[in-house]
Amino acid sequence: MNSKRNKILAMVLGLVVVTIAEGRIKLVALPERAATVIRLDNPRATLIEEERVLTLQKGLNKVDFSWKAVSIDADSIRLRVLDHPDNVTLLNVSYPPNEAALVWQISSDSDYVETVRISYLLSNIDRLITYKAIANKAETFVDLKSYLILRNFSGEDFAKARVLLDYGESFEQGIDHEETKQMLFFKAAKVPITKIWTFDAAKLPWDPEQLENRNVGIPVSYRIVNDAKSGLGEFALWGGKARLFQDDGHESTIFLGEDVTAMVPVGEKMELYIGDSRDIVVTQRKMRDTQINKRYNNDSSPRLVLYDTDEIITAKIENFKDSPAVLTMIQHIPGQWDMKKCNMKYKKKDANTLEFEIKLPARTEAGPATKELTMHYNRRNIRPGVNVRPMPTRVQRTIRR
């Protein structure tokens, strides 16, 4: 083998059983590494399977397997006899002291040139997945490319190996220690996308006017469904970094943004946050917040023990874009509540989260397309000092100019 660096060295076949405890005599040639497989189907660990040819003699054989400057999980090492599984038996495995090694004791009923497969978990060799998507100008689909990145920092050079992932064809690839290789993994043309704008009242500032020359960006995402309709859906899409570009109509592209996706199983959605829109402006205000139905105790100076609230929130949504958009607006009402009146339909995502889908037409000559949400609600049975359900905190995001 012409590998420059071979740290999983020694495969020594001991013909003589040495019983001296102080030293171990190792004999016989180093069997060449034959077919090697790098299995990357488990993101947490990489399994190496290599085949070696051993010359076994009738009786007991000792095979020494040792390594240095690589990290092998010793408990993961397995040996499988391929040619004569009924005639060749692995009797036991022993670990010599203070050595990165193990010794197999193999019993053979005859002399064989035997191919064995050794499997083990090797550290610091793995793969990453990245995505590159180019959207068309109208932002209705993307051409999706996925790259596989092999990183080998295991200490071992692999001159030639069969690389296996959890799907797709295996392929042959050599990779040296400290080498990184990027390969095109798959391509899917014209994958449909949905563009989504989201205003979450718990995350974004309410009143842009209060922000002294800072814009509030409404997060914009692309949604891709991993299904057959999208030309995908054959396998789960691995998690990784995705970079999005867009065709600019001048035979070039612009960079739209990047995000990281978790693994997307078949049938599930991938959402990639690309950037912020400053052409949709939300101005949310609390127009009323008072206590009603107050109940006091019978102390001589009565203390408030129970009340409801009467609250009105308005949110003006302006679309300054010259194209229509659908804004997903998330509102939060803590604790127990009743909606008295609301001028738009909403979906209750959970006990305290309301989701509005607001269709905004494009800006016209007369100005931005404007819609106004008004919610009039009562929060019920609030007991001062008793926090039945914590109020969500309003996170003020730092906004860059």
Partner: protein, 451 residues
């Protein structure tokens, strides 16, 4: 400085022999280069085309970028012709070599092949800034928008088509950090450390003749270059006419737009919660056609405002303000700071309490407070002004009665109201309001129809 070096290595695999012969064939130069520069993040998309001379079979192409700020993970090469015959098998980042990538190309043809190489780099930036010149009567303003493009990337980009992106792009990693990594994708299990190794920028700047010439050429052009603007996704793309050469370390100012007569409103605001007891001056206009604008959004930047004085074209400096990004059709309000020539004086003229409520022990449990305010607004300037007065209350339980010359009245939110008045030159207006606030158990008696 040319730091991006391209080397084409052709490996000819001899038939029958496994011996590989490596030939260094050409150093293809850049034919065209296009820069798309962002200002919300330190990121630039570079697209260059080069013509490679490929041989049939295996070709190796070496790309190196020492002392630049290129993100190696963003490198991509695509053949612009014969794409079906050219297979880019992989991009290898060889061990123990920094700032170098090796493309393995399997070519079904031999001869010249144009390719396009794209990557992201750090170190190029642009920003917008503005100059406003008010007419003497301050009714209109000449507004000039500029962009300033700066190249600190370590690489000279000659004759580049330069494009600027207005918008807020989401990025996970700083390109400059990706550029400084020892291994492009890091090591398995590694938390990427932020190496703060400074770039080698100590090398003296050499301006070759070509650059000097091209700068000279643009200097003697008949008119300033135009900037074409168009919307794409959530962004605006500004394309600078022609080609630009900006050597590393240099920056360039270009005129983005020049509008002569933007009608402006001299707006003065008074709100104690935000500005204390001072009146703050704003210059207000709208990014629309009526104001000779409105073609595209206006990117954020700093504006310096001057005013024409006298007939000889002299200027007086009024102040400066920061602009935020202004979408088409949105109002712009430029804060020029506190002034003394427009005065807003609220005075508490009367205070009383009433409607006391008592609990069973005879202690006070509820009451009303009634305040009468007189507000005097004075315009000592020789021009028309608009004045916005906001009053904030300490409770949401209030009622207000107003009288006198109060202009337009509006409830802003649960505890804020706004009066808007217009004042003629050197004039004054007065109005009054009576504010009743409800306290303690009197809050229960408070009702206000709103919705």
């Amino acid at each position: 400085m040319k730091r991006i070096i391209f080397t084409l290595l052709i490996i000819t695999v001899m038939a029958g022999a496994s011996r590989a012969k490596i030939d260094l064939v050409t150093l293809p130069t850049r034919d065209t280069v296009q820069l798309t520069i962002y200002n919300s993040a330190d990121i630039t998309l570079v697209r260059e085309s080069r013509a490679l001379t490929l041989k049939e079979g295996k070709n190796k192409l070496q790309f190196s970028w020492a002392n630049t700020l290129i993100d190696p993970t963003s490198l991509e090469m695509l053949p612009l012709a014969n794409a079906d015959k050219i297979d880019i098998t992989d991009l290898t980042y060889p061990p123990r070599v920094r700032n170098l990538g090796l493309w393995n190309i399997e070519s079904g043809i031999s001869g010249k092949v144009p390719v396009e190489i794209t990557y992201l780099t750090s170190g190029l930036s642009w920003r917008a800034f503005y100059m406003g010149t008010l007419t003497e009567d301050e009714k209109t303003m000449r507004l000039q928008g500029y962009v300033r493009v700066t190249n600190n990337s370590g690489e000279d980009y000659e004759n580049a088509q330069t494009r600027l992106i207005v918008g807020k792009v989401h990025i996970l990693d700083q390109i400059a950090e990706l550029a400084r990594r020892q291994y492009p994708y890091g090591r398995p299990g590694e938390v990427i450390p932020m190496t703060l190794k400074a770039l080698d920028r100590s090398a003296p700047m050499e301006m070759d003749k070509k650059i000097a010439l091209s700068m000279l050429q643009s200097a003697i052009a008949k008119r300033p270059k135009e900037i074409k603007k168009e919307g794409l996704s959530e962004y605006f793309l500004y394309t600078i006419e022609g080609k630009e050469t900006i050597p590393t370390g240099w920056s360039k100012r270009l005129l983005s737009f020049d509008v002569d007569e933007v009608p402006v409103v001299n707006l003065y605001k008074y709100e104690e919660r935000r500005y204390g007891k001072s009146v703050v001056r704003f210059l207000s206009f709208k990014n629309d056609e009526e104001h000779e604008l409105g073609e595209t959004p206006i990117p954020g930047g700093r504006l310096k405002v001057y005013r024409n004085v006298g007939d000889e074209g002299h200027l007086s400096y009024t102040g400066q303000s920061s602009f935020k990004y202004v979408p088409v059709d949105e109002d712009v309000e430029l804060n020029l700071g506190a002034v003394a020539n427009v005065v807003v004086e609220p005075k508490l003229m009367d205070f009383k309490t009433e409607n006391y409520r008592f609990d069973r022990s005879g202690n006070v449990s509820g009451w009303d407070e009634i305040r009468t305010f007189k507000i005097e607004v004075k315009n000592t300037r020789g021009i028309d002004v608009k004045v916005e007065i906001k009053r904030n209350f300490s409770t949401t339980h209030w009622k207000l009665a107003k009288s006198g010359d109060f202009g337009k009245f509006e409830q802003v939110d649960k505890d804020t109201v706004k009066f808007t008045l217009t004042l003629k030159p050197r004039s004054a207006r007065k109005f009054e309001y009576v504010l009743r606030t409800y306290h303690g158990t009197r809050e229960d008696d408070w009702t206000r129809a709103l919705w």
